[in-house]
């Protein structure tokens, strides 16, 4: 038999009695010393608490005195103490990656009760650790410098907050917004719950700050096209869509808008409730205040004639020849704050939205309440003049509904209460709230609910079956009838109203999946972006350097969005301050001589870490981009892709160890 190359120490932890109550740890240690000697085990010990300083010292002393070259610790999950023992090895001068922690607590003593079987399984696990460890390599962590600039995507309130926090801390920020102006959904609202302060009054100053801040590069009417690179060093390509307006010359005077002869239904900012021009700013307080041209609707681009805007522009800022521009820059971190879409209430056809004219969705109603909206804040029916005498507000439209979205959209209760108050205040109409549960868990929220109850709003607990215009009784004629089971009185009710407001839920952006792919992060089954940890790390993602804030992570109200924006900024600022970061050395690489350039691996990497060189007809892995999943290693037909920490040799040896006959 060959003399083993390595000198291995094996340490079995009692974990108090957590392990030793079920596993005969002394037996395991003795067995390892005898039966694994030929693999290089020179010492096997057990200890009450391996993670204690005494336990760690035991390992350190053995490394120094017995000249151990590798260490196996059989204790708890590596997710708990891998780092502890690696650090101990490092203190004793051993490369930390030559230490292997195997779990006999979570995987054995805590889940099995038969002592004999548990001891046998522990032996197999120890043997697998030893077998695997023989193939470990001494590795170094990778260090990456952090570019101090940050990309914030989405100029809603969460993105604005994150941008301002970073810029105020002195870091350069690129804020990219797809619409002509920042502001997001908050800019569409009239009042904000529960304080009922004016949305624009609190938002506009922040928008202006973004517009003039020297550390902020504001790119509106722009979309991120491509993201390459990795934490600390992302290469970003942004498409600046042609405004057809030269921003250097434009003063924002608005004459072009005034002179434009074409009225276009505004589907975005006014949610189809009002018209804008073909050259427009979405709203008067827009930041930046330069207009953009809507090429699909511009008469000149349709017929080749008009150019009214150009004729009247006092500074010659209109440029019909302007093209889309690709902007390229580098950032160290990215914050995604791309927000939400409103649930399309047409999908619940029994509520008649889109068919029955006096059924409105929540955003339409927000616009109607807004003093700068289509009715200048007057609450009226679709005819634009009639004041409703009775209004029904339906909660949970598309939310908490297995046919649509199972989750609670979190804001709709408070929003509906706000609507109830506004209707009551402005029209004196009877208001009915149809709810499943009232959820008001926020500061001052339940007080607001009580206030609305006291104002005399009716609350009907039950999921509305149908909104119909088919009258059965004379008093139902020309009304919208809400058919509902009032679960508190246990009866079916038909309540005739003039207007119905659907508190539609929040949904991930329609293109959330593509955007997630672009930035290399993942969506939950619902489509919301997944945070690194739902409690402990709500704004980071599994992709280093990419953070999320606001509704992109899940439905939330304005205070929560702002808190997340600030939190994401703080996380990024922390990284910037560090200047560089260390990454685990779990990486794949390609042996060039063995690679035939078949390109099977090329499309398998979600981080685009695999490059193909046409000249040499070989593929190569960018180590800094590689996240270490190992998919390409498993896929390479030629066995030309190899990896550290989970190499074929390591895993195959581990399997052999696990299947070792431990009964002898």
């Amino acid at each position: 038999m060959n003399t083993p190359k390595e000198r291995i120490g094996v340490y079995i932890c009692h974990c108090g009695t957590n392990i030793s109550a079920v596993v005969d740890v002394e037996d395991v240690a003795q067995w390892a010393a005898n039966k694994l000697e030929h693999k290089g085990v020179v010492i096997a010990r057990d200890h009450k608490f391996m993670c204690s300083s005494l336990g760690q010292e035991l390992v350190e002393n053995d490394i120094k005195e017995l000249g151990l070259t590798r260490v196996v610790v059989a204790a708890c999950s590596p997710h708990l103490h891998e780092k502890t023992f690696r650090t101990a090895c490092e203190r004793a001068g051993l490369n930390p990656y030559l230490c292997e922690l195997v779990s006999i607590r979570e995987q054995v003593s805590w889940v099995h009760s038969d002592k004999v079987v548990a001891t046998q399984k522990s032996k197999a696990i120890v043997s697998s650790g030893v077998e695997r460890l023989i193939y470990h390599e001494a590795l170094e962590q990778l260090s990456v410098p952090i570019n101090p600039a940050t990309l914030v995507v989405g100029g809603g309130i969460a993105g604005i907050q994150a941008t301002l926090e970073l810029a105020d801390a002195g870091s350069p920020v690129y804020l990219v917004e797809r619409e002509p102006s920042i502001g997001g959904h908050m800019a569409q609202f009239d009042k904000t719950f529960p304080t009922l302060d004016c949305s624009a009054c609190i938002l506009t100053p922040k928008m202006v700050d973004v517009g003039i801040h020297p550390n902020i590069t504001l790119l509106t009417w722009a979309e991120v096209e491509q993201v390459n690179g990795y934490v600390g060093n992302f290469d970003v390509t942004v498409r600046q869509k042609a405004r057809k307006v030269i921003t250097d010359l434009c003063t924002g005077c608005g004459i072009c808008i005034e002179k434009c002869p074409k009225n276009v239904l505004d589907d975005i900012y006014e949610v189809g409730m009002n018209y804008r021009k073909a050259v427009y700013t979405p709203f008067p307080q827009a930041v930046p205040n330069y207009p953009v041209m809507d090429l699909d609707n511009c008469i000149y681009f349709d017929t080749g004639k008009c150019k009214a805007c150009e004729k009247f522009c006092p500074t010659n800022a209109i440029d019909f020849e302007q093209e889309d521009e690709m902007l390229k820059f580098q950032v160290g971190n990215i914050i995604l704050a791309t927000g939400f879409d409103l649930f399309d209430a047409r999908k619940m056809s029994n509520y008649g939205y889109g068919r029955l004219e006096n059924v409105f969705n929540s955003l339409e109603f927000e616009r109607m309440c807004n003093a700068s909206g289509p009715t200048e804040g007057e609450i009226v029916l679709r005819d634009g003049v009639t004041t409703p005498k009775a209004v029904g507000i339906i909660h949970c439209v598309g939310s908490r509904d297995k046919s649509h979205n199972a989750y609670c959209s979190s804001i709709c209760c408070m929003q509906s209460l706000k609507f109830a108050h506004l209707v009551e205040e402005r029209t004196g109409a009877h208001v009915y709230n149809f709810y499943i549960d009232i959820r008001t868990p926020g500061k001052g929220y339940d007080e607001f609910y009580n206030r609305i109850v006291e104002e005399g709003t009716h609350f009907v607990r039950g999921k509305v079956a149908e909104v119909t215009n088919a009258a059965r009784q004379p008093d139902e004629k020309k009304k919208l009838i809400i058919q509902v089971e009032d679960t508190l009185i246990g009866k079916q009710r038909r309540i005739p109203v003039d207007m119905v407001i659907l508190s539609a839920g929040l949904e991930p952006r329609h293109d959330a999946k593509e955007v997630a792919k672009l930035f290399g992060i993942s969506c939950s089954a619902d489509g919301w972006y997944i945070e690194k940890h739902p409690k402990l790390d709500p704004v980071a993602t599994m992709t280093d350097g990419v953070y999320i804030a606001g509704c992109v992570q899940g439905p939330k109200d304005i205070p929560a969005s702002i808190a997340q924006g600030a939190a994401a900024a703080a996380r990024v600022q922390g990284k910037i301050q560090q200047g560089e970061m260390l990454m685990e050395p779990i990486r794949a690489s390609i042996i060039e001589e063995q690679c035939s350039g078949c390109r099977i691996c090329n499309d398998l990497c979600p981080y685009n870490a695999i490059l193909y060189h046409d000249a040499t007809m070989t593929s190569e892995i960018n180590a800094a981009l590689c996240q270490g999943c190992g998919t390409c290693i498993a896929a390479c037909p030629a066995g030309a892709v190899i990896g550290t920490s989970y190499s074929n040799e390591q895993v195959l040896a581990q399997i052999e160890g696990l299947l070792m006959d431990v009964s002898v």
């Binding site: 805590w110 889940v111 099995h112 399984k121 993942s522 089954a525 979600p606 195959l652 399997i655 299947l659």
Partner: protein, 158 residues
């Protein structure tokens, strides 16, 4: 050969560092009991699962192999669990052609929060394989001799 009645199968389970391995940790923390027949191998991702590992496990004496990973759409590495799914489906076809029952290779999804579900999957897998009986690949082979009499029994020279 072991009697079927007291046969204890050995199952090798491949886990993903981010979900199913953590689910196993969680099962431990919650003291959820499951059969000790399973032995886990941690990989960074189910996408690392090389069919070679599965063949190796069978060749070395495993009676069943479990592949576990994040639920579809929830892969830590975005979409690599789908690659595991594709490989699993093709590997299973190949194994069936080699005379290995499809039930001996099982793919299960378990998130980091699903300790109970993982324990249940493991328990069910062990029971399924127990019913199938031992595979004993590593014991068979070289020593088997055969006469030309087509009706003769296989004679194992131990």
């Amino acid at each position: 050969m072991t009697e079927k009645s007291n046969f204890e199968p050995t199952i090798i389970g491949f886990t993903c560092n981010w979900c199913s391995y953590r689910a196993a940790d969680l099962a431990g923390i919650a003291r959820i009991q499951y059969p000790a027949n399973i032995r886990l191998v941690r990989l960074m991702c189910s996408g690392r699962l090389d069919p070679t590992f599965v063949l190796k496990a069978f060749a070395e004496g495993a009676d069943g192999v479990m592949i576990t990973g994040c639920h579809p759409g929830e892969c830590h590495y975005l979409e690599q669990n789908y690659k595991a799914l594709r490989r699993y489906l093709l590997l299973r076809r190949t194994l069936v052609a080699m005379g290995i029952e499809a039930e001996r290779l099982h793919l299960a999804w378990a998130s980091a929060a699903e300790g109970i579900q993982l324990a249940r999957e493991i328990t069910e897998m062990v029971e399924r394989v127990r019913v199938l009986g031992p595979l004993n690949w590593h014991l068979n082979g070289d020593q088997v001799q055969i006469t030309h009499d087509a009706t003769a029994e296989l004679e194992v020279v131990a």
